[in-house]
């Protein structure tokens, strides 16, 4: 067609640019993409490779078998050691102790489960701290109040 030279030039320029874009894009797709679905297959395995922070009661029992035995016989048998004491990895690294386990003696820790709430099921042992300790109105709850009486906390 006459007088269309500029159109052809523009079209060719466009095709070259677009082809370049498509080519560059093709090489930017990560290699494991599409392996298992429309995502980077490596991502799935990166999740798998992360190390757990929590151990289990059995892991604690490996060293603390006396406490473990005591606990297994009592009402707190179902409660994981780590619920009150923090994660295994905050205490053990490479099978060796590197820091002390956290021991929280505050009444607030016990209150997480045992403070009376309307929404708690009936069968759950729950108390109102002020009532239970026979405190005067406005009197503060002593920090380690629970352990004063319930000193064998692993087997209460």
């Amino acid at each position: 067609m006459e007088h269309t030279k500029h159109i052809w030039r523009a079209a060719i320029l466009l095709i070259v640019v677009l082809t370049g874009v498509v080519a560059v894009r093709h090489f930017m797709v990560p290699s494991s993409f599409g392996e298992m679905g429309y995502y980077r297959g490596d991502a799935l395995y990166e999740f798998m490779d992360k190390a757990p922070e929590h151990g289990s009661q059995a892991a604690c029992a490996e060293c603390h078998d006396d406490i473990a035995g005591e606990k297994a016989a009592g009402a707190h048998a179902q409660v994981q050691c780590e619920v009150c004491h923090g994660t295994l990895t905050s205490h053990i690294r490479d099978d060796d102790k590197f820091a002390d386990m956290a021991i929280d003696r505050s009444w607030r820790l016990c209150a997480h489960c045992h403070r009376r709430l309307v929404a708690r099921p009936e069968g759950m042992p729950q108390i109102d701290p002020a009532e239970h300790l026979e405190l005067a109105p406005g009197e503060a709850i002593p920090e380690e109040a629970c352990l004063d009486c319930h000193d064998t906390i692993h087997n209460p």
Binding site: K5, Y45, M48, K50, A51, P52, S90, C113, A119
Partner: protein, 265 residues
């Protein structure tokens, strides 16, 4: 104005024609190859896991069961999740909601800091006749809107039914956060990528329970696997009355509840 010799013009034109056709051909091949990748979209295509890994994701399918009647709202699960997954403060991969309902149907709902430190008693000035705790987490839906809406393939469903986010691919657009009807997602303040419950994928693929399931003192939370014969949770879901959150949205959650009252949001 054109000063080009006819011969040179013809040769140049022929060359350009051929080059253009060649380039177009190459482009088409590349586009075709990539479009077949695109058709994978939300449907997983994997039929087996990777070589050299003991765990094969295609041989498992996780489900989760929460027994509302057993939850005491202690928050151990929230704290355990925070420690296991380094969850940032004031953002939640799991949380507990407390419902207190009066005789007339007036409802008070609260979740103080996600119930990270449990709950405190409240004085509501009404006769509370019904009250319970509802733990919540990502429902790992089968028909999930969050994966559908992710523009870059960063949010995905694993072959074993876990909805995950590829932190290296996520551009932080927050579309998935908008899409989740359950409020399970957030943008991590440090990585600036979408973040949420991963069903402790790093634990469940090693045969362990999730941190929340393991640390629940009353067994209110349970993890199951429908591809394991005789799985306790699969049995309950198949035989007993269970509910899911917002069933009308047809997201097909894999997190089931027993004892879910109508007031639960």
């Amino acid at each position: 104005m054109s000063k080009q010799k006819p011969d040179a013009g013809m040769k140049r034109r022929d060359f350009l024609k051929t080059a253009t056709q060649g380039a177009a051909g190459m482009a088409l091949v590349m586009i075709w190859g990539d479009l077949s990748l695109v058709s994978a979209s939300t449907v997983t295509v994997a039929t087996s896991g990777r070589e050299g890994y003991a765990y094969d994701p295609t041989k498992h399918r996780f489900i989760y069961l929460i027994d509302v009647a057993k939850c005491i709202g202690c928050g151990s699960c929230v704290r355990a999740c925070e420690r296991e997954n380094q969850v940032p403060r004031h953002f939640f991969r799991t949380w507990i909601e407390r419902y207190q309902i009066s005789r007339t149907g007036r409802t008070w709902i609260d979740s103080p800091d996600g119930a990270r430190n449990g709950f405190e008693p409240t004085v509501l000035g009404a006769d509370i006749t019904k009250a319970f705790f509802v733990p919540k987490l990502c429902n790992h839906c089968t028909n999930t809107p969050c994966v559908q809406l992710c523009p870059v393939g960063a949010s995905f469903i694993s072959p074993d039914g876990v909805v995950l986010v590829d932190e290296k691919r996520c551009i932080g657009c927050s579309y998935c956060v908008q899409a989740c009807p359950y409020g399970s997602r957030f943008i991590h303040p440090d990585t600036h990528t979408a973040s949420k419950c991963t069903l402790c994928y790093h634990r469940v693929t090693k045969g362990l329970d999730t941190a929340c399931v393991q640390n629940c003192p009353t067994e209110a939370r349970k993890l199951g696997d429908v591809k394991v014969l005789g799985d306790e949770v699969a049995e309950i879901i198949a035989t007993k009355e269970v509910h899911v959150l917002k069933p009308e949205l047809h997201t097909e959650p894999n997190c089931y509840y027993s004892g879910l009252s109508r007031e639960v949001r």
